[in-house]
Structures are given as structure tokens and as C-alpha cells.
């Protein structure tokens, strides 16, 4: 991972933008950087923006599944947002596009923000 940008949307929603690659080289660092948001009592919904993620391998998939499992175990929600072509390609190959909640557009993100319980 080259860069992680954090954006708070309201009180309970946090958007993490992963810029660069999500691979074996960097998933441990990505897990460590994300863990505080997963654990935070204030964050009920985590949105991972993958629009600028240029390469995703099986370790990166493992990272996304790990965050999904961690959030679900705490009754919280994880959304993947704005998947890059490369991310879509990799998740399609392992048939996980239906496993994650995916937001395709800014409109869908705005709708999520308007839902009761996300603010």
C-alpha cells in the first residue's frame, strides 16, 4: 500500500481510501492502520474506497475478508466503494463480488449516509 487516506463522514461512518497496491508486501501494515477504526466504538460503518487501488492479490483479498469478518463480529458494516477495474477483476476471479456489500457510485454512498443509524 502506498498511501491510506482517512475521511470521517458524520459521527459513525469512516471512509478509508487505499491508494496504490494491496498485496503481500503491505497487508500487515494495512491491517495495523485499519484496526483502530475497526475497533472504535464510534465507528459503526466502514467504507473502503478502492478506486485508486491499482493491484489486488490474494493477500489483499484476505485483508478485505479479514476486515469484513472483524466488522461483522461486532455487528458493524463494511462497504467496498468505487472498485477500480483491477480490483473488480481480482474479486471476480475468486467469485467474491457478491460476498461484499459494494457501493458503485457517489449517489449510493450518499444514500448510505442518509440511512437512519449511519449518523
Amino acid at each position: 500500500m502506498k498511501c491510506l487516506e482517512i475521511e470521517k463522514k458524520g459521527e459513525e461512518v469512516c471512509i478509508l481510501h487505499y491508494i496504490g497496491e494491496l498485496t503481500l508486501e503491505c497487508v500487515q501494515e494495512a491491517k495495523e492502520e485499519t484496526e483502530s477504526y475497526v475497533r472504535s466504538d464510534a465507528v459503526h460503518t466502514l467504507v473502503i474506497d478502492l478506486s485508486r487501488t491499482v493491484f489486488l492479490d490474494s493477500s489483499g483479498i484476505g485483508f478485505l475478508v479479514h476486515i469484513h469478518n472483524r466488522m461483522q463480529s461486532q455487528d458493524k458494516k463494511l462497504y467496498l466503494y468505487n472498485l477500480s477495474h483491477q480490483v473488480k477483476k481480482t474479486l471476480g476471479l475468486v467469485k467474491l463480488l457478491d460476498f461484499f456489500y459494494i457501493l458503485e457510485s457517489e449517489e449510493e454512498l450518499e444514500q448510505l449516509m442518509d440511512e437512519p443509524g449511519t449518523q
Binding site: 498485496t23 503481500l24 508486501e25 493491484f55 492479490d57 490474494s58 483479498i61 475478508v65 477483476k89 476471479l93
Partner: protein
């Protein structure tokens, strides 16, 4: 026939370094960007398995990759290491991992991308041979 050999010492960075170098080489001959991405992914997975399981994060050990391109026919990639013996997984093709599983998708990805692949072990060498059929629309015209 076009042939090139790539070599690298094992390290956490080796899989991406090798996969990117081979993609750059193949992009002289192949135009299909989706295919190039998939080949880069299969190479990354194969080399990551070597770093993790053959050399077990050791810093000593070589990864050798021989790329053979038969224009209009096929691409053959042979990846060799001298680490712990690796034997082919029992299920072939591998079953789709449980969606909640956080690991174990490397060989499954390779099976989804390549037309054929085979693991072998002899004379202290592990070799993974991967094959991909090529069609004219995948290739740079005139090569």
C-alpha cells in the same frame, strides 16, 4: 519462439518485482491489458507462495522464471525455486475457498487464470509450469 529468463533473490518484494518486470517484457508482444493483468496476478501468486512456503521468509534463495512465448500459439511460464519441497494440492482443479476464509486463494487464482498448470519436484527443485493459450487478438500485430 521468444524466450527470456528472469532471476531474483527471495524477499517480500520479490513477487511484485518479478511480476512487474515480466509484465513489462510481455507487453512488447501482448496487447490485451486484461490478460496482462491476469498474468501479472498469477505470477505474483506463484512467487508469493515461494516466499511464504518454499523459503519461509528466509532471505537466502533464488527464484528463476523462464518465459517462453510462441506467437499465435501459447505462453509458457516455468517458475523454479530451491526451497522446501512443494507438492501439488490434492484437489485439481482446486475448490473455491470459503468466502469467509482469509487465506488460501493463491492456487485457486492461478487455476482460474491459466489454461494449464502443474507442480513438480525433482533434484531439490520445485517447478510450477503454467500455460496460457494465445489468440491473434491478444498479440501486438506484426510480432
Amino acid at each position: 519462439m521468444i524466450q527470456k529468463t528472469f532471476r531474483c533473490q527471495t524477499s517480500p518484494r520479490a513477487p511484485r518485482k518479478l511480476a512487474k518486470a515480466i509484465r513489462r517484457f510481455l507487453s512488447r508482444y501482448l496487447v490485451d491489458q486484461d490478460m496482462l493483468y491476469e498474468l501479472e496476478l498469477a505470477l505474483t501468486e506463484a512467487c508469493s507462495n515461494i516466499v511464504l512456503y518454499a523459503y519461509k521468509h528466509d532471505t537466502e534463495g533464488e527464484i528463476r522464471i523462464q518465459v517462453t512465448l510462441e506467437p499465435g500459439s501459447c505462453l509458457v511460464i516455468e517458475i523454479t525455486d530451491w526451497g522446501c519441497p512443494f507438492h501439488s494440492p490434492p484437489e485439481s482443479p482446486p475448490v473455491q475457498p470459503d468466502p469467509r476464509s482469509e487465506s488460501g486463494r493463491g492456487i485457486y487464482l492461478i487455476s482460474q487464470i491459466m489454461d494449464a498448470y502443474r507442480f513438480s519436484h525433482s533434484q531439490q527443485m520445485n517447478t510450477l509450469r503454467m500455460e496460457k493459450k494465445l489468440r491473434s487478438e491478444h498479440e501486438v500485430p506484426g510480432n
